[in-house]
Amino acid sequence: MRGSRAGSAVQEIQDSTQESQPGAELLSPPPAALRAFDGLTAPVKRLAELLLVRPGPWSRAFENLIVALIVVSIASIGVGAIPGLPEWALVALRIEEIGVVAFFSFEYLLRIVAARKKLAFIFSFAGIVDFLAIAPSLLTGFDTRWLRTLRLLRLLRLLKLQTHYLEATVTERTRELAAKNLALEQAHAQIQAELDAAHAVQVAILPARFPARTGCDGAARMISAASMCGDFYDFIELVDGRVGLVIADVSGHGVPAAFFMAVARTSLRDVAAHHAEPGACLAQTNQALCAQNPMDLFVTVFYCVLDPRTGVLRYANGGHNPPYLLRADGTIDALDGQGGLVLGVMPEAEFPDHTVELHAGDRLVLYTDGLTEAFNAANEAYGPERLIAQLRASGELAAAPLIERICASVKEFSGSAAQSDDITLTVIGWDPR
């Protein structure tokens, strides 16, 4: 593995030497001698390519052989320096030296053949080192021991190769990482953009204001914890002049909750047009949700129908936290008549109906538990007590400013703590005067 990479690094070095002189080949053709040399050495050239240029088992083996011979020859230079060696050892060293020099000379020639720009290779760092490794023995016979230590340079050359290889690897990995980061950022930006768009659609399908025809003062606010919200509210104008009010909370949040919310909201709207009683509406919506609920999600729904002419309010509860009725005289009642199960779990669930009469100046406050279960940094919940305190202190505030006041109070309470659940709040004031 390592050998083959070093082999391809050899190629890279040669290539980079070539790149340093762009177009040099075209400007100055190689001398005639070298061209003739080329023609004579076609089989050698093939061998050179096999051993030095093309990555593979042969070039790997060749690379390893070179490293081994460098080590052997440097070790033998050291051994040869020991005084009083027997004759047979000196002969062996001499033979070894001839072999090594012959091999390095052969390799040097191969490298020249393999190099596309031969002069550039000969005068490159690698070329000079390779030459110095064999030159002392070739030029001056075999007894220039100290000069032969120049062969150590070949180790240096190997190191340089390795460094070059490492640098090339680091550069390559950095480039890959940057490309992957970019792709990741683009993917994230795209997902975020789609979630934002989906959130915008989700908010847009909910009514922006309370139906003016009813003469009631109504307002709503939804603050989602994630891009996609599991809460919803709705105001439904019924043909008999009454108006339906919905507040709901799907288990969890994110995309599945948002889909479930859309299905729940649409079903309830359809059903509300055909049933006078809130309990029957919830029962039928529940059946529809149970029939198409692959992820075992569920939704808590409080649904009430107000007759704006008389102030009579009919309600049914599917597992939702009871809304508060803020009476004009300052008392606060929870609409906690017996409720039914959350919607989407048990198709046969029933939802009892209850009735309460509103008086002039009464306000109905519907909310999801993201409000009362907003936590602060000390892990305390906002709780119903703080909500009730805000309601008590609200005087005769109209719907929109009352919502504003409660939201500001929750925000102040939570401080730096992250919002963990969607918060939805609806207020309807009834005053027939």
């Binding site: 599991g230 597992g319 199960l341």
Partner: protein, 125 residues
């Protein structure tokens, strides 16, 4: 939140501790489902899965969903699924959502275990 399993004769106790919210629910659900699978695999040895909620401080709607799914998985596996020792705030969540009518809830561990050993059918109550 933290979850610890304890084996007692004929039942596995799941001791839940901390806050079961949107973030903690998936891991908790997995833990419960594995306990259900293990109980089922033990054949008649483990008849019930009891979640001890004495140290469970908070359950969000996502948390309720993990109980719902565990109850369904238990029903399919023929294992009794029950809760014990709910803190008042958590009990309120179960009452409000109607879950206390679907999942058997016992005052404490002993009551739950007594109930299991006397129960013939896997639907508790």
């Amino acid at each position: 939140m933290k979850v610890r399993l304890e084996k007692v004769p004929h039942a596995t106790l799941v001791i839940a501790e901390g806050r079961l919210d949107f973030g903690a629910a998936p891991a908790f659900q997995k833990e419960l489902e594995q306990a259900v699978t293990a109980a089922h695999a033990a054949g008649g040895q483990v008849k019930a899965l009891i979640v001890d909620c004495a140290a469970l401080d908070y359950v969000s709607s996502a948390g309720l969903r993990s109980f719902l799914q565990a109850a369904r998985a238990s029903q399919r596996a023929g294992v009794v699924f029950a809760l014990s020792t709910l803190q008042p705030a958590v009990r309120e969540v179960f009452d409000l959502s109607g879950f206390s009518r679907m999942i058997p809830i016992h005052a404490d561990r002993t009551a739950a275990l007594a109930r299991i050993s006397s129960a013939k059918s896997p639907d508790g109550q």
